[in-house]
């Protein structure tokens, strides 16, 4: 197939199977299929989170097995466990260090609402600190529940708009992302 065929006949000049689609769908599909979670295990839920990464539940089936210790390499923060007042600033900093686009799963009732620990020590819902996309119920949620939460998030990612930043969507707790404007000098390809 030469380029001239396409120039002459348009798409009819292509001799092999080609699927066309929107770039957005492609990006969303690839994002949802390789979302890497940050290890943010706090309490009991962390054990179940690790259990879902292990042999029996195996979240590698969803492209999620690569738990990253560095927030710079992670896309999803799974807040697994109760967030104490002392941990809250740390959690926020880890979240801030993650690259956009980023998502948060609040795993377990303690992270979602404080759970049974309605007292001085526990932040009553991690959504007071970071914007949460999916809440997984349970104390602790079984790996099946976590997988369901992950699947829900994947659907959400696939339906999202790739260029929309969180500050515009109004989700979460009023997070403002400073966007650095791109260079105004056009980049010319193919020239030296």
């Amino acid at each position: 197939m030469g380029l001239s065929d396409v120039i002459d006949d348009g798409l009819g000049g292509l001799s092999h199977n080609v699927i066309t689609g929107r770039l957005e769908d492609l990006v969303n599909w690839s994002r949802s299929r390789s979302s890497w979670p940050a290890t943010f295990g706090l309490a009991c839920c962390a054990i179940e989170m690790m259990a879902s990464g292990a042999a029996h539940y195996d979240i590698a089936r969803f492209g999620m097995e690569v738990f990253r210790a560095s927030p710079r390499q992670a896309d999803i923060m799974i807040v697994a466990g109760r967030v104490s007042q002392k941990m809250a600033p740390v959690l926020r900093q880890v979240y801030d260090q993650m690259m956009e686009p980023k998502w948060v799963i609040s795993m377990g009732v303690c992270a979602s609402s404080g759970g049974m620990f309605n007292n001085y020590a526990i932040v009553q819902g991690v959504d007071q600190i970071v914007p949460v996309d999916v809440y997984a119920p349970g104390c602790p949620p079984s790996p099946e529940t976590l997988i369901h939460a992950i699947e829900t998030l994947h659907t959400k990612i696939e339906q999202g708009e790739i260029m929309r930043r969180r500050s515009e969507s109004g989700a979460g707790a009023g997070i403002h992302v400073t966007e650095i404007p791109a260079s105004s000098v056009p980049v010319l390809l193919g020239t030296r």
Binding site: T39, L42, C44, M50, H56, S84, Q85, M87, V90
Partner: protein, 439 residues
Amino acid sequence: MTMIADEGAQELRPRSELTAREVMREVGAVLRLSEAEAAKLGDLPEDPDEDQTMVINMGPSHPSTHGVLRLMLELQGETVLRCKPIIGYLHTGMEKTGEQLTFMQGGTNVTRMDYASPLNNELVFSMATEKLLGIDGDIPERAQWMRMLLSELNRMSSHLLFMATNGMDLGAVSMMIYGWREREEVLRFFQKVTGLRMNHNFVRPGGLAADLPAGWRDDVLRILDMLPERLEEYDILMTGQPIWRERLQGVGVITPAEALALGATGPILRSTGVEWDLRRDQPYLRYDEVEFDVVVGTYGDAFDRYAIRLAEIRESMRIVRQILDRMPEGDYRIQDKKVTPPPRARIDESMEALIHHFKIFTEGFKVPEGEVYVAIESPRGEIGCYIASDGSPTPYRMHVRAPSFVNIQCLPHMMRGGLVADAVAVISSVDPVLGEVDR
């Protein structure tokens, strides 16, 4: 990873702010030396200048600190000079919440402390409550043996979790998969019995929440038949493997005197050669009627602690086999109207039973005044429960002596003079569960 959260005086202070006495006191007191003797120890470079040392921060969000433990290490080159664990990042206020919940509800609270062995937490809380009620001698035989069965299976699952995380921390990543594979088998049994994989709230004051389900014996036997072969695999993968031994032997050594002085219990104390296991030495439940060995180490290093835990899985299996032979028939909870809700069938036919049931679950039962401390052997060491009651249905004060909270104090002494590369191996060998450290 740097942290914006500055914890001030809780952090490791720079050397320039410390007096020589403060530095030596920590080491000397543990070794029970005088200050002069401690100053002569001299196994570390003498008073390095501050510009030769570096303080690094590890955690609280770190992949191998077993949760949210934060360590500050002072290094000279690769050598750890000082180390300080900073905890509290998972402080849940459970002792305060425990004062709000009735004795009936208290199990839901304590079971979330040591989430790797929740049944042991419930057990110690229930035993303390029963002692306050004065019914600790009247618990039915079947309940006692069922508690032992669950406690030992929980010890196995907890140690299997240790095998997984210890392997993962040391780079034997496939061990994580294996450890979890076996743990799932035990959890599946727990789910069948209690309805939950973790945080069961199954052991209640007066007995248990329910009887064992039909076919439980086959399920336990399946675990017992499967595990020996899998543990042999562990031996091949780790115990006999030169790399594994190199990484663990002689790392994180602690002496019996140090361990006793620091109050360490469980596998840490036993790794130094001190034979102390509450199951044998202050028997509770029916541990005096079963045969098992208390496994002790010799060198007090990380390898001994690993080997002890592996051997304890085998000992627990031995105990479980004896429990299977001796499990008596009978009631799974005490038939004391005061603490036991009426059976479900009675509620349908009797108004009194309904009222009684309602009162137990709303108001709870009153516990006589007094205070007790009850201790049992959890997979991590002595877990104790101190309850002071003022005669009301809620504890006046409920305190749990968490083994990990005390054991974690050993870290600075195990790491002192070691390499920073071994720090992870040492933390892993202590096997802390941060949920019970911070409570």
